[in-house]
Symmetry: C3
């Protein structure tokens, strides 16, 4: 295993070196454009807070798997961002400013973290890195095909904040990979949480909630940022209230995991229309997304896990998959002049690519073995005392 890793590392640096030599830096800039770029970097930092602290701690809900979840998050981001930059820097792609390229790399890392959420706790730590190395080229492929419409058969789609490209793609990729990474024994093993792990998870959820507007507005022009930001917060407020009401209504009591997850569904769903929607539309999208997501966690998850014989550790289908598609479809009603056929094609092709590449990746990752105990730090970490 040591050798394998050293190879990965060398390959990684090598790839990076090549890309860098081709990388275009430093156009002439005036004061205003510098200032606008610094404002973008500010949003890039907010997104990084979401990726590491947000996603990382949201996944600490698994009682005994906290250190592994955090370490996996660190590694996934550390593989995904430089790899994305290296590939996009090779010269085959549209040129963008350095900081915009970096934000796009963060989007890729977000999608990867979502995918990893589906199989969290059921692979070894270094397999997360393999997953990342497989994921990023496939993600870029989908980005090029659907978002940039490189082959001119989709048309223009609305997906500013990545409901389709980031959230739905990541979730469906992860669920597909889970087909090869969910043994019978694993399907019967409950995922345990406790009061401390739940509070960590709610912390991660809050970090995501707070910085979500910067995610959606990251590449939006300055003059549209106020409206975008307010839309995202309103959608999140809507999903938070809807989540609470439905969690209590369906289950009789509140479920902390519902709150930590479904409260964010408004952010997922508003992505596609964050810079177009009116505030009322944002509220409706948020409420619907929160409701759908909570029903997913409370009612549907057991069913689809049995149907497809998979385990979805973090419930990414409910938080990212369904709300992402809901958001993508909402754009048809919200965005003036949007071609419905293009939008539907964009969604369909994204789902298709995610399924195929997810299956391939899941199969490959599964070849590298499986952990002795699942959802448990003791497998790979030193000195884990029981609390």
């Amino acid at each position: 295993m040591k050798k394998q890793m050293t190879k990965i590392l060398v390959l990684f640096i090598g790839l990076f070196g090549i890309a860098n030599s081709l990388f275009a830096q430093g156009m002439e800039q005036n004061a205003i454009s510098s200032i606008l770029e610094v404002q973008q970097y500010n949003r890039a930092i907010h997104i990084m807070a979401m990726l590491l602290i947000g996603f990382g701690f949201l996944m600490v809900f698994v009682k005994k798997y906290g250190r592994s979840a955090i370490t996996a998050t660190f590694l996934l981001v550390s593989v995904a961002v430089p790899m994305y930059l290296a590939i996009k820097g090779m010269g085959f792609f549209e040129e963008r400013s350095e900081i915009e390229q970096f934000i796009l790399a963060e989007f890729g890392a977000a999608s990867l973290l979502i995918a990893a959420g589906a199989i969290l706790g059921r692979i070894k730590i270094y397999q997360y890195m393999i997953l990342g190395v497989l994921f990023i080229p496939f993600y870029i492929f989908n980005e090029v095909v659907v978002l940039e419409d490189h082959f001119h058969f989709i048309g223009s789609i609305a997906d500013t904040g990545g409901s389709i490209i980031i959230h739905a793609f990541g979730a469906i990729f992860g669920l597909s990979a889970a087909v090869f990474l969910s043994s019978k024994k694993q399907r019967e093993t409950p995922i345990m949480a406790d009061a401390t792990s739940d509070r960590y998870s709610l912390l991660g959820s809050m970090v995501l909630w707070v910085f979500w507007p910067s995610f959606c507005a990251a590449l939006v022009p300055a003059e549209l940022i106020p409206t975008t930001v307010v839309n995202v917060f309103i959608a999140l407020s809507g999903s938070t209230i809807a989540t609470y009401i439905l969690s209590v209504s369906i289950r009789g009591k509140i479920n902390a995991a519902d709150i930590a997850n479904a409260a964010l569904a408004g952010g997922v769903a508003i992505g596609a229309t964050c810079d177009y929607a009116t505030h009322t539309e944002a509220m409706i999208i948020g409420v619907v997304a929160g409701a759908v997501s909570t029903v997913g966690f409370a009612v549907l998850q057991d069913k689809y896990q049995k149907l497809f014989k998979i385990v979805d550790s973090c419930g990414v289908a409910n938080l990212h998959g369904i709300p992402g598609i809901v958001g993508g479809l909402a754009a048809i009603f919200v965005v003036d002049g949007l071609n419905a056929a293009s939008q539907l094609k964009g969604i369909a092709i994204t789902i298709l690519i995610a399924i195929i590449t997810g299956l391939i990746s899941g199969k490959i990752v599964s070849l590298f073995g499986k952990p002795d105990k699942i959802y448990d730090d003791v497998n790979e970490f030193e000195d884990v005392e029981e609390e």
Copy 2:
């Protein structure tokens, strides 16, 4: 209860729709004004981090009530911000840019969270939402009367960072509400913390500390921001040092709750004068506020709780009430040309409105029942394992 909630939700969206149709969006903007708005949105994000992560986790100090505290915070913010925007968007009020309106909504949510701190753990989760629905119109009323001086009988007051309007108002409202929400049994129930809940609380406190300058400087013009920011940090440094010294001096040992709370009193008190004070004045205000607040927690809290037969779960009187008033009074000595009578009238009227509307709201909230067990997640949450 389900029906009630569905009604609230429908009402909420309806109100929002009306407001939105009246809402003025999109003035022509040039590059500079766009950039300045993006800078305001940055501060708006920092404030949101304070509201959710800061206030939320500060309230996790209650050992068994962590999930409830976090969920309540989520719901309070999700009710308050859209409701404030909806009311202010109805056309009766001064027009402001979208992002400034949003920041004012966040201020309202902050004040509500402070109010809720007084009764934390003694109402059911959905009652926090009722509290929010009652609070916001009263808060806006006080804002219009005192800050905007709509009826022209107060004059201009100094309260840039909300010592009076946000902190003192919220605290006194909450304490007044507590009159109807503190039974004899509740007054005799101790509020338990443990090492893990204390560390969460200190985390929340640090988040508040770090982003406090953005709270105070949120609506300050760009050229005054550096001095405002440094003032706030200096005041917080002063209160932190004073808190430590007085906590040890009075109690013999350090109390973690003193540090988590009173260390922030400098931020509360500097609010009124954050853009006027010299750095030395900021240090003095911070030290005095920290000292007063620590004396409040260590000595006065027991006394006033007995005197008024209330419980103040989070000690909001000590952190927000008294330091808020101290800060409001300090302005008389610090701000050149400030009319002392106006400032005193502003403080007095704010206190009056807070008491009356707090009593009304507390009575109404109390009509919706009380939880079986107080300060305990088991009441309303699924699956609470003991740690």
Copy 3:
């Protein structure tokens, strides 16, 4: 002790008052320069998040010393920043804008927190404040001698993000102070962590990781910020991957403390060259720093602790000392036109000043007594229940 503290406080405010009266405020500014200053303040807030939440929680890894570590962090920052501003405001030093002065003060506080990491848990809480009062003047002295080259015998050095001036200085100062603050019994006492304290520590680490680019880019001109930011993230990615690989390779299992610490070594080492390096160089510097740091934690720490008869509680030699020097040396190969002799002299003199002033400070702090129990909150905190 009460009297001592009151004296410190009075002295503190007095010093502050004097400095303030001499302090230059308010140059005429146009819109653009105001905007640029607001952007600097944004980075100042990010740095403050690193100082309090980042460093504070990283040090919560000690199982029973969490509240003390957080309180110590609060106090160290609250002493260091105003003291730095007061001294620098006395008129003997280069004039800088208010917000730049504040960022420099934060850099000083960062270096102090690093120094305190070496002796964490082995002094009383108020001794951290004494440490701070001693540290800041010595830190400023080194800054003046090495960075500003006030006595014209070093020449210009490369250290934008403080690999040498901040990280190496702080670490070596702390290790030198530890010579007088590591008794035989203390050297034999293991520092215990558990699953909860480890997760807090990883949280702190992530906060540092996320905001590190703002630390390095804090005083960089706007047009160089994108490249600087991307360099820092790439270096951090490199050290994170290298840390994981080496932690597993050397120990057989992952060590959570390695991940929480050595993953950050890339940020330490890229500091000196963050605005010059190519992205490939940044990756290499990050990988090397992560590798060296992990070897330090896994192999060298026991050896140097025995050799010098010290305890290094947080392993600051491995995270800040060695990677800081590695970063300083890397500049010789990376920065065109840099005078190697100057860079080497700068590093050597910084080490020399840190050793001497650290020894003096450690001796003085040791005179104020030692705690009854080390690494334990019960010494000084009320109500510590066992979890």
